[in-house]
């Protein structure tokens, strides 16, 4: 029984790490730009496809690990600014619904773009996983990639983001804009630049999430769709723009899911949504969200 619990815990951690990597970028973008980016899943998918392509070219397994990071960086650096400047920046003054729908349109377009570029046959490149080899826990074989590297990177990513946002000038500027755009502008912060920066980081994180997931899974049309809905649930459960909240929620969902697989497999699919409803009943602004009072 203890072994079973331990295994469920390990599986949950590994899953939570993947989930966090996808959700954190979405949370960041939502926190700063107040836009729920439906195309986040597409960026995830494009990051994953690019990483697979690049990793396949890399030759040696260790180089392929590097290729993952490179692919994410490239996708973030290209897609982020072009989407923000080319599309989003045009409608910041419009209603939120329109901004949401814009990203939905983008999602539909990118779905077909992926198909045209990478085709419909599943793409699979697991050289990075093989490079790290297996780990054995209690007689059970895991891959080091999923059990150690991914959770490790998720923690690094979390710590980095917290440090970046709280301790650096740029990060504080992002937080200031996220908190109150008008007040931030009043003290001389160029919110347009912050938007660009935050969206680019968010896009990069989406691509990174995809790139890191790529070696563990087959990429097929629709892979982004599957990921994005879950990330939505994480973002809402966490509270608006809460990085630590996203981590905590990802952990909750990851553990909830793996315990479900062990003890009540039929519940697996609904676990994230049940968690979300329960959390929002108890805390209407999300796990880490503070209640906002409007100045009147």
């Amino acid at each position: 029984m203890e072994l079973l619990l331990l295994l469920a815990l390990l599986d949950g951690l590994a899953y939570a790490a993947q989930l966090f990597m996808v959700a954190v970028g979405l949370t960041l973008v939502f926190g700063v730009l107040k836009i729920l980016n439906v195309a986040h899943g597409s960026l995830f998918a494009i990051g994953a496809y690019s990483a697979s392509t690049l990793a396949a070219l890399a030759g040696t397994p260790w180089l392929s690990l590097l290729a993952l990071a490179l692919a994410a960086l490239a996708v973030g650096a290209i897609a982020g600014p072009s989407i923000e400047r080319g599309l989003l920046a045009r409608i910041y003054d419009k209603e939120q619904v329109l901004q949401l729908l814009l990203t939905f349109a983008l999602f539909m377009i990118l779905e077909d773009v992926q198909k045209l570029v990478w085709g419909v046959q599943p793409v699979f490149e697991d050289a990075p996983v093989r490079a790290l080899g297996p780990v054995v826990v209690g007689g059970i074989v895991y891959t080091a990639y999923q059990l150690i590297l991914l959770p490790g990177l998720a923690v690094v990513c979390l710590l980095f983001l917290v440090w970046f946002l709280r301790r650096t000038v740029t990060g504080r500027m992002i937080l200031a804009v996220a908190h109150d755009r008008e007040a931030a502008e009043a003290i001389g912060i160029d919110s347009r630049r912050i938007y660009l920066l935050a969206f680019t980081i968010g896009a990069g994180l989406a691509a990174l999430g995809g790139a890191l997931a790529a070696p563990t899974t087959s990429l097929v049309p629709g892979v982004g769709v599957q990921t994005i809905v879950l990330s939505f649930a994480v973002v809402a459960t966490a509270g608006l723009g809460q990085i630590e909240g996203a981590a905590a929620t990802a952990l909750l969902v990851g553990l909830g899911r793996s315990f479900a697989v062990y003890f009540a497999p039929e519940l697996e699919v609904v676990v994230p949504y049940l968690l979300m409803v329960i959390v929002l009943v108890l805390r209407p602004s999300g796990l880490f969200g503070g209640r906002e009072l409007r100045r009147i």
Partner: protein
């Protein structure tokens, strides 16, 4: 009343289209059904709230018909059952979600719809999972209709439902509780300081919107005679919001205009580019959002104004 005229012209145009192109009868019936669901979405959009899960009520309506069909053999009774079930579901969920705003409102709706989606897939013994349930073609006023007659009857019925729903919703939107929807969007606190429960304003509209979506789902099920869980998948909910924006929220014509244009674009895009129809739809949506944020109704109004200036 120009809106009534627009509806009359629109109905005539649809009937003509359906007569000239028999296959469009079915597509247009579905478009009208979608329009009914979007009419409900549009009420919520007026309150600034985006439901990313309203396909739930479409599915409740459709599955109610699938489950009730063995006992009921009448189109109108079945539709009534569909609306009733959707209203009940709307009350249950609405009591909960009407407390929430913006992303929480949107995501909770999404969550409920996704839970129902997985239940429809999971409860295989009850729902036949993704295979879906066949609906035997019911009678209308005791008359068994075949093929094209049934299609015409359903098309006409959809038009009648649209006319009634549009008229009632238009009046509702002019009544205080309807006008309060956009008041809720712009200054919810002020509503509360006037002694009005913003939650009740939203709840009431939510239940109406659920009923409308249920009616739309019912008509859909009666037209396709086969219901599957895909009806409630979140992309379908997204489509409903898409159509609402495409049509515009200025008046009750928008949802139907949007739905008809959406279906026609989709059908023609799919015919011309079977591999990239989704991209075409995405580009249309992009164009609307960037260039005509008030939707087709807004475009029509501007066209009318331009015409007025020229003459």
């Amino acid at each position: 009343m120009p809106l009534r005229l627009a509806f009359a012209v629109g109905f005539l145009a649809l009937a003509l289209l359906a007569a000239l192109q028999p296959w469009l009868r079915f597509v247009l019936t579905l478009a009208l059904a979608t329009g009914l669901a979007v009419l409900g979405i549009m009420m919520l959009l007026r309150a600034g709230q985006v439901s990313f899960g309203h396909a739930l009520y479409v599915a409740v309506g459709a599955y109610t018909i699938a489950f009730a069909r063995p006992q009921l053999d009448d189109v109108l009774l079945l539709l009534a059952a569909a609306v009733l079930a959707a209203v009940v579901a709307g009350i249950l969920v609405g009591l909960f979600v009407s407390r929430y705003r913006d992303i929480f409102f949107g995501m909770l709706n999404l969550a409920f719809s996704m839970v129902v989606y997985s239940l429809l897939e999971k409860l295989y013994w009850l729902t036949r999972g993704t295979d879906g349930i066949r609906v035997a073609r019911p009678r209308l006023f005791g008359v068994a209709l075949e093929g094209a007659r049934y299609e015409w009857a359903l098309f006409a019925l959809a038009l009648v439902c649209v006319a009634i729903a549009a008229a009632l919703v238009a009046r509702y939107l002019r009544a205080p509780a309807g006008e309060a929807l956009s008041a809720l969007k712009t200054r919810e606190t002020r509503l509360e300081f006037a002694g009005v429960s913003a939650r009740r304003v939203l709840f009431q509209a939510y239940v109406v919107s659920a009923g409308l979506a249920g009616l739309g789902g019912g008509i859909t099920a009666l037209a396709t005679l086969h219901v599957t869980p895909l009806l409630v998948y979140w992309t379908h909910s997204g489509e409903l919001v898409f159509v609402a924006i495409l049509g515009g929220t200025a008046n009750v014509l928008g949802p139907f205009l949007g739905a008809v244009v959406f279906e026609l674009v989709r059908v023609h895009a799919a015919a011309a580019f079977p591999d990239a129809w989704q991209m075409i739809l995405g580009l249309v949506l992009l164009g609307i959002v960037l260039l005509a944020a008030r939707g087709l109704v807004g475009l029509l109004e501007e066209l009318g104004r331009w015409w007025g200036r020229r003459v």
